[in-house]
């Protein structure tokens, strides 16, 4: 037993590693060719990139006054959008949870819809919503509602699936109906998780909502587009700074609340 074993050809030359490495390199080179990577051009024109950064390094502080109102609107969009998304998500997550709905067909269909919704990027939704409801914050609200619906439903049903089945059984044994089970056994166990996920999604939506306006869906993003199109980079800088500050504050607040929940 205490002898060095023989290795097969594949082991000796680490065939698996070699195959994966070659595949990886081929994919990288292929991607580089397809996307027209040109580092020469990049380095010869990098000056322009830095001159842009240079312009951004001189923010137009007076622009702050103009930014405040759209920043507030962005926050309001995020609050309303996240809430609508959550309200729609709750019934869906209940039906998608394995321990609540035993019928695999119903559950499968619901999960399929949820997966579809989650594949759509936020800006794509924004572009479509602008086409439907017109330019303005409403488009942003609906975009965020759909976006957070997809995300929250998944987080919620996964959290429902982790609850203690004993309580469900006890209520079923006592003759409770579906609705009663949800109110008395499910809700108390998941409510803290739900609030925490809601806040988490809200954080993400605040970040997302700052660019939605670029396609006309309201909020600070509208100014972002204006300043970029008119080459007013000193204004762009203020918008980005304002975004950073708002995101930091919301992250901090949301983290504080989530820690308090635990």
């Amino acid at each position: 037993m205490n002898e060095v074993p023989k290795r097969s050809f594949a082991q000796r030359f680490h065939l698996k590693l070699v195959v994966w490495s070659v595949l990886f390199i081929v994919l990288l080179c292929g991607s580089a060719a397809l996307t027209g990577v040109n580092w020469g051009e990049f380095f010869s024109n990098i000056g322009q990139f830095f001159s842009l950064i240079g312009k951004m390094a001189h923010p137009d502080w007076k622009y702050i006054q103009i930014v405040i109102q759209p920043v507030i609107q962005t926050l309001q969009m995020a609050i309303v959008g996240t809430t609508i998304g959550t309200l729609i998500a709750v019934p869906f997550s209940v039906v998608a949870a394995r321990n609540l709905v035993k019928n695999p067909v119903v559950r499968g269909i619901i999960r399929f819809i949820l997966n579809l919704v989650r594949t759509l990027p936020d800006l794509l939704l924004a572009a479509i919503m602008v086409a439907i409801v017109g330019i303005g914050p409403s488009a942003g609200v609906w975009t965020l509602a759909i976006f957070s619906f997809g995300m929250i439903s998944k987080l919620f049903y996964e959290s429902i699936e982790t609850i203690d089945d004993g309580q469900l059984e006890a209520l079923r044994a006592a003759g409770a109906n579906y609705f009663q089970i949800i109110v008395f056994a499910v809700l108390p166990q998941v409510i803290e998780n739900f609030i925490s996920y809601f806040l988490y999604t809200f954080e993400i939506n605040v970040r997302a909502s700052t660019v939605l306006g670029y396609l006309g869906a309201g909020g600070i993003g509208m100014l972002l587009q204006q300043s970029l199109d008119s080459f007013n980079y000193s204004q762009t800088a203020i918008i980005i700074l304002a975004t950073l500050i708002v995101v930091l504050i919301i992250d901090g607040l949301s983290n504080y609340l989530r820690e308090k929940l635990d």
Binding site: M1, N2, E3, P5, R7
Partner: protein
């Protein structure tokens, strides 16, 4: 009298956080001894062990190995010192994703450039040495396995093989059996004892268990709250001696 292998003189250690690790320790260890250090967790056993290969710096005092002070060693000098001191750990500290062979060979990295050791460009002699070391701990058949495929006891034996690659004069073992079951405990302790007997390696082991210490040690040292409170050769040791070292332990366990 022969020059002692390790001489610890008035050594104290205070951590950055202000915790006192060691208080004025004086200790002399001769070549070929099998020393077991006992004491409660937090008594300073690990700290004492790690000052010997300078994984921890001392705050005060001096440590001599083969008559040379080591506490001011830096860079290359320090790495040369460590090359001669093997160390095994409670959690084995293998690179879990790497093969047993690679782990054992890593015992020689002190002799290679980073570039060579990363590419696995070890000499033929060292590769043979790795096989021999694994045979010594009866693990040669696992040489191409990944470290995380092995059981705890097997991992610890691989860790011993890694230390053997250093041709160590001193072997430091920090709670080597704390994560193992009784059967593998015996295998690992027997292995250490054999290295001590056959190869003449000086072994210093930290242990929790007094019965185990009495079974294997030539000499038992007791630490309590960073102070050396006990030091006797095995011939003089009596079981009731340990009440003072473990004073308060019974209360804690209640």
């Amino acid at each position: 009298m022969e020059e002692p292998l390790i001489e610890i003189r008035n050594v104290s250690k205070v951590y950055d956080s202000g915790t006192v690790g060691l208080k004025n320790i004086n200790l002399t260890i001769q070549k070929g001894e099998f020393v077991v250090v006992v004491g409660l967790s937090g008594a300073g056993k690990s700290t004492l062990l790690r000052t010997i290969n300078r994984m921890h710096d001392v705050t005060d005092g001096d440590i001599l190995i083969e008559g040379k002070s080591i506490i001011h060693y830096k860079g290359k000098e320090l790495r040369k010192l460590r090359r001669k001191i093997g160390m095994i750990f409670q959690n084995f500290n293998l690179v879990k994703r790497s093969s047993v062979q690679r782990n054992v060979l890593s015992g020689r990295v002190g002799y290679y450039s980073t570039f060579k050791s990363v590419l696995g460009l070890f000499s033929k002699e060292d590769k043979q040495k790795a096989v021999d070391a694994l045979k010594q701990v009866k693990m040669a058949d696992k040489i191409y396995s990944r470290a995380d495929e092995l059981s705890g006891g097997q991992q610890q034996r691989v860790a011993i093989a890694r230390a053997l690659m250093q041709d160590p004069k001193i072997m430091l073992a920090d709670e080597p059996i704390a994560s193992l079951d009784p059967l593998t405990t015996k295998a690992v302790m027997d292995e250490l004892k054999e290295l001590n007997r056959k190869l003449g390696i000086t072994v210093i082991v930290n242990l929790h268990s007094v019965p185990l210490a009495m079974q294997y040690a030539d000499r038992i040292i007791g630490l309590r709250a960073g102070e050396l409170v006990y030091d006797k050769s095995i011939a003089e040791v009596q079981e009731t001696d340990f009440d003072s070292i473990y004073e308060g332990a019974a209360k804690e366990n209640e």
